[in-house]
Symmetry: C2
Subunit: 293 residues, 2 copies
């Protein structure tokens, strides 16, 4: 078991940041106050009422003063500016970590904006979340048995990575480490690409001429897509920018395969269609077996 | 309330056919025996053990003899051949209905294969189901509050449509009527297209070089896709053939929109990306409001 953390600065008090704070408290790992920071005083007030944070400010410079651990849980595009804003008031031994869904850009921001403190920045990504947003949606069990990926760099201090890993494991997460580049490729395929497909489908159908009817007869398939496509738009805008290259590679590969499937439908190649569908079901079975193991 | 049905022939005793039979029994609407028919003696035995059917045969000709109601719940490609096989043993006043996911082809099959009995064929499609298959998966509540679409034609007898509608409403379904062509367009968009996208994604990722890792880090998005892509391959093969034109139209429209989204990602057009994502979330909210109303 790792030691409790003293003062924490939580920059961004939404679903992910709020849930980690609640989970750390529930695990008895918070011995000092948690200072919240965000753009919306309303959401900060909710976070305070829900016991996520003790005090709050809208200025990151103020929030990090005295903090032993700084958690950034803001959209990817906000991380660089927050680094710049908080650099001068960071404690000399503070550990900084984030929860962003793409990691190469964040590490580049840290090197550019944090100076020597970049060595104490541990890039992290909890592969968890749902379509809800805000402090209202936070709950302490969000990370239980979920994967958290850390992408420490050659400048990252080992003691800082180990401490962040211990704080994730203490709330029930399974931590793995990999390079930021590998993380970005894998997540482009498993998360960013599916979200783009869902967003695009809902967009297409919402501009259909019989839109209301299309929605009225939405069967299982489409209903799941609309749920995926209701995630935070600002977060996804920033993911598209931050993981552009890996996402484009995944998207191009997908579009080529979809074009091939279209060809089989057009040609009435039922043998090929059945092969694709049988393979997909087999992949699902392997996936479920992996989840259970 | 509609009167109970005497002898029923259930051709296909899987999730949909089995669930309708169980639901009709639960509603007290079955006064005679249900004769099951299918290809797999094993599945037929399961259906008998679960009380879905009373007797069974693998010959549709035999199953329909004496039946007042004939329910076809087989993959679309099997409907034409079954019509041909059973035509000569159909009772003169038997009502025939189906549960297929595309309706124009089925009506064409009926006109070609059923002779005068085509007037007593009521094409139907319960917009319900899940990724499970077989008699084992059937349950009587499957259609409660779900949409059932009937697509009677100008030759369809009104009394036959009314009877089938009443039998669906008695098990809790909401019945609407539309033309087969309109049904096929709407379902291509809301159900057939999403399934193709999910199948294609799982296919793409299952051939990824880091396949196991891709599956290991599958976040919410991809997990939902694999579930959609685990539906019955044979059923989907037949849907692609039967609703080819409407599906290709929907797919082309989608691929054009996805190409446009790709262009916005490539160009770093964050304003456009945010617009698409915000619109999709708004569409989801309208959709949920519609479900609640």
């Amino acid at each position: 078991m790792t030691a409790p953390v003293g003062r924490i600065a939580l920059i961004g008090t939404g679903l992910i940041g709020g849930s980690w704070a609640l989970a750390l408290r529930a695990a008895g790992l918070v011995s000092g106050p948690i200072a919240g920071c965000g753009r919306s005083p309303e959401n900060l007030e909710t976070a305070r009422e829900r016991g996520i944070i003790d005090t709050f400010t809208t200025d990151a410079r103020e929030a990090v003063a005295g903090a032993e651990l700084v958690i950034l849980a803001v959209p990817l595009g906000a991380i660089g500016p927050v680094f710049g804003r908080m650099r001068d008031t960071l404690e000399p031994h503070a550990i900084i970590t984030d929860v962003g869904s793409a990691k190469q850009g964040v590490m580049a921001d840290a090197r550019r904006m944090l100076g020597d403190a970049a060595e104490r920045f541990v890039p992290g990504h909890p592969v968890a979340g749902n379509e809800r947003t805000g402090a209202e949606a936070a709950f302490p069990e969000l990370f239980r048995n979920r994967q958290v990926i850390l992408t420490p760099d050659d400048i990252t201090a080992g003691w800082a990575s180990d401490r962040v890993q211990a704080l994730w494991e203490a709330v029930g997460a399974r931590v793995v480490r990999m390079t930021a580049a590998h993380h970005d490729d894998v997540l482009a395929a498993t998360s960013h690409l599916p979200h783009m497909l869902a967003y695009s489908l809902v967009d297409t159908l919402s501009r259909w001429s019989d839109r209301d009817e299309v929605f009225a007869y939405a069967a299982g398939g489409f209903r799941d897509f609309t749920r995926i496509a209701s995630s935070d738009p600002e977060m996804w805008r920033d993911i598209c920018a931050a993981n552009r290259d890996a996402l484009l590679t995944a998207l191009d590969r997908y579009m080529a395969d979809l074009g091939e499937l279209r060809g089989a439908i057009h040609a009435g190649d039922t043998a090929r269609l059945e092969e694709v569908f049988v393979n997909a079901r087999a992949a699902r079975d392997r996936f479920l077996a992996m989840l259970e193991s």
